[in-house]
């Protein structure tokens, strides 16, 4: 009697198991597809895949995309943006933000030109506060000297380091919110660059300086070399050095880092100085390409810098970011802008699309961290 019941139950279990197995197979199929989608979404290279897909879709629509002239154009736009965006990555890892990078670029450009220019038009510059001391009929400070180039570049880099130091000092020592600190220094130094030059571009820069953007061996340009070297150095700094490790730690938990002996203040100041330095290196590349010191240099660039970082996956809440991500972000952003240009869309439409893409990227970041949380 007992055994009969047992057999019944057994066969029941077996049948039930079979039915379930079919369902399970179907479920496995679905979940396999889903997990692949998830894998791609969660991959670090997601933005790169997206860029490639975007290029593939666009190729038949805009064949001109692959014209050598256009490729060169895309690349020459990409390198300086990459340089300045990498600087921003350092600050974003700290859960900070550097709004003043564009003003650093403007100030660097002006200061460098003031040091290097060989002649200025008296009609335009007599009203400038620099006239008579730094700028004369004979040009800038070092205008006629053979040392104009190194002095000019040094001055430009110093501008970035000093403004970065001021930002970092205010954030680290006075514990002011980075948003306000860098917003104010953006206003201050953007206005100062215009004030110093009375909004005039400074031309007649030394030929050696202009060569920075002109030197080119087929695809390899000087800007490219500078940007790639900088990216490699930044990558190693973030991943392998004491400073890099501490930067992430401070970005994730400042208090815990301080108690663990991390010099948090010094780390913060250094990060802002790196950001300023990168902005001034970008200014060197841009000014050389424009062949002038321009007081409004970079003024529309901020959204591109932060946008590229966000698209790459660098988190605004700190602790998360990689140089490779920034590279992918910049690459995607530049290609997006270039393709929209080629579709002959108006400036406003392009900005609307750019804005939407950044918004989607930010949303994606939220979705990814949610999936990750669910997996833990």
């Amino acid at each position: 009697m007992k055994q009969q019941t047992l057999v019944k139950i057994k066969s029941r279990i077996n049948n039930w198991g079979k039915g379930k197995a079919d369902v399970q197979d179907a479920q496995v199929e679905i979940s396999r597809g889903r997990s692949l989608a998830k894998k791609i979404l969660m991959s670090e290279y997601f933005v790169l895949y997206l860029t490639i897909l975007y290029l593939l879709v666009l190729t038949p629509i805009i064949p001109r995309l692959w014209h050598p002239m256009n490729i060169q154009n895309v690349l020459s736009n990409m390198w300086p943006l990459l340089v300045v965006a990498i600087g921003q990555t350092f600050v974003l890892i700290l859960a900070g933000i550097d709004l003043s990078q564009t003003s650093v670029m403007a100030m660097s450009s002006v200061v460098g030109a003031v040091v290097m220019t060989s002649s200025v038009d008296p009609v335009l510059f007599t009203k400038s506060p620099l006239w008579g001391i730094f700028l004369t009929d004979q040009g800038g400070l070092m205008g006629s000297s053979p040392l104009a180039l190194p002095a000019g570049i040094l001055a430009m880099l110093l501008v970035g380091l000093i403004i970065g130091f001021l930002n970092g000092f205010s954030v680290a020592i006075f514990r002011m919110p980075p948003f306000i600190v860098t917003l104010v220094s953006m206003m201050l130094f953007s206005a100062m660059a215009i004030f110093l030059t009375k909004s005039e571009n400074i031309r007649h820069l030394p030929e050696a300086y202009l060569q920075i953007s002109k030197t080119q061996f087929s695809v390899v340009s000087m800007s490219m070399v500078i940007a790639i070297v900088l990216a490699i150095v930044a990558h190693i700094t973030l991943n392998r050095t004491l400073f890099g490790k501490r930067l992430y730690a401070v970005g994730i938990n400042t208090t815990a880092s301080e108690i663990s002996g991390v010099p948090a203040r010094r780390t913060i100041i250094t990060a802002y100085m790196v950001s300023g330095l990168c902005a001034s290196i970008a200014a060197i590349l841009y000014s050389s390409r424009l062949e002038m010191g321009r007081p409004t240099l970079g003024s529309t660039l901020f959204i591109d810098i932060v946008g590229a970082n966000i698209i790459g996956g660098v988190s605004l809440s700190g602790g998360k970011g990689k140089v490779t991500w920034t590279i992918f972000g910049v690459f995607f952003f530049i290609i997006l802008a270039n393709s929209l240009n080629m579709l002959n869309l108006s400036f406003y439409v392009i900005d609307m699309v750019k804005g939407s893409v950044i918004l989607v990227a930010a949303l994606l970041d939220v979705a990814r961290s949610r999936i990750q949380k669910a997996q833990n």
Binding site: T241, I252, N253, T255, A256, I259, S260, G261, P263, N376
Partner: protein, 512 residues
Amino acid sequence: MQDIVFAYKDITKRFFGVRALKEVSFELEKGKILGLIGENGAGKSTLMNIMGGVLKPDEGQMYLKGSPYTPENPLDAACAGIEFIHQELNLFTNLSVAENILINQFPCIRKTPLINKRIMKESCRKLLKSLNLDISPSMLVENLSPGERQLVEIAKALYSDADILLFDEPTTSLTAKETENLFSIMRKLKDEGKSIIYISHILSDVIELVDDIVILRDGQVMGGGPIEDFPVNRMINLMVGREISNVFPERTNSSKKKLVLQTDHVSETGMVRDINLKVHEGEIVGMFGLMGSGRTEFARMLFGVDPYKEGSISIHGETLPKRNPQESIKRGLAFITENRREEGLLMDSPIIENIGLVSLPDYSARVTRLVDSKRLYKRSNEVATSLRLKCNSLKNQKVKSLSGGNQQKVVIGKWLLKDPSLLIMDEPTRGIDVGAKYEVYLIMEHLASEGTGILFISSEIEELMAMCDRIIVWSRGEVMREFEREEFSQENIMRIAFRQELEDASEKRRWQ
């Protein structure tokens, strides 16, 4: 069978194939307090989350007052009269007490969206009074002590007229007096016919409070029934599955006469007054006192996190610079803070980044500052093994996915990498399970035997008495007395720590 208000029936839950609960069944009776105990990771939280509608069981059913109960979300649970009082309080510190209590159901003026503040305060005042809580409803929550906040949380649950209340480790941040008050309120609620599930690590509290008990281990019910049938030893056996004859390891007296730490007349207004103390090599010195007695504040000054006005601190005879944790670390100090999440760990980072954080400079090249991650990994791995850290991968697993005990081991590990000569431990066993506690004690004993001086801050007098060579008793920012091991007596230590308050409290209890 009418008086069973809630029942779990064969609940099974898996996470990504890993079984968290297996065929869990037990019942909660009306007007009773049920204690739920188990090590961290035994499945208590999962069980509670299933009840609260946060998770869905894979198999099994729940019954609420006899009828099937399938909550889709936390709101369903609240509607069914089930309320949680969490370990980490869910209060809005920027809002007032009344606003917090009524956050889900503000009384409005007729049909306008305007809040009727008068009614709000009135109903809160009544509620607070019933909880013996003497605060104004318009007070901001950020100005309340942890104990008061806990009671506000309870008031919030009571306001929605819940029948079933879940308390998850409610006493971890409370003083003895506040705990006493909380227990009397819980008993009163029980007498009013509410049913309570009480989760705790503190077994003495469980014994004092509950009627029935359920013991979980690895997602299974190991035993349950009236509390009288479960003496402490049996509870522990069932929980950890191994015989722990003694919850504390044997202390060998290894204290040498070489001085590690000496403080001279350390004072800071409103914090501590005239602190003179010494710690020798291999000595475990306990610091006991109530919340706010100045122990933690003093530890922070010692380590250089917070400033102090007068006095000096010396390590191995050398004066320690003020407010400089880096210098303190260089001179051999280590500090395990009382809140691991906020001050101890980078929760979002992998284990290795946490363990390596303090000693990174020792592993980086002189000029390039490149970190030798291979050497660091090797050493971290050694330390993790010696601490018996349970994890899948040092490099890829984030600290936040570890259990409380293992998180604490990561904090300890990061300091061990530095070979400290004085280790300050502030409540190192708080919120970790019995097994992990025992391991922490073993680590302390081992370090002391190797000559490390340990300053051990704790609110659990039993562990201090078991582990320490001396106990320093604090009260209101002052050192009241030092007890040598021979003189240890729970009653005397308590009396000193409470000063007058002991009499007050006992009077109050009698009066209730």
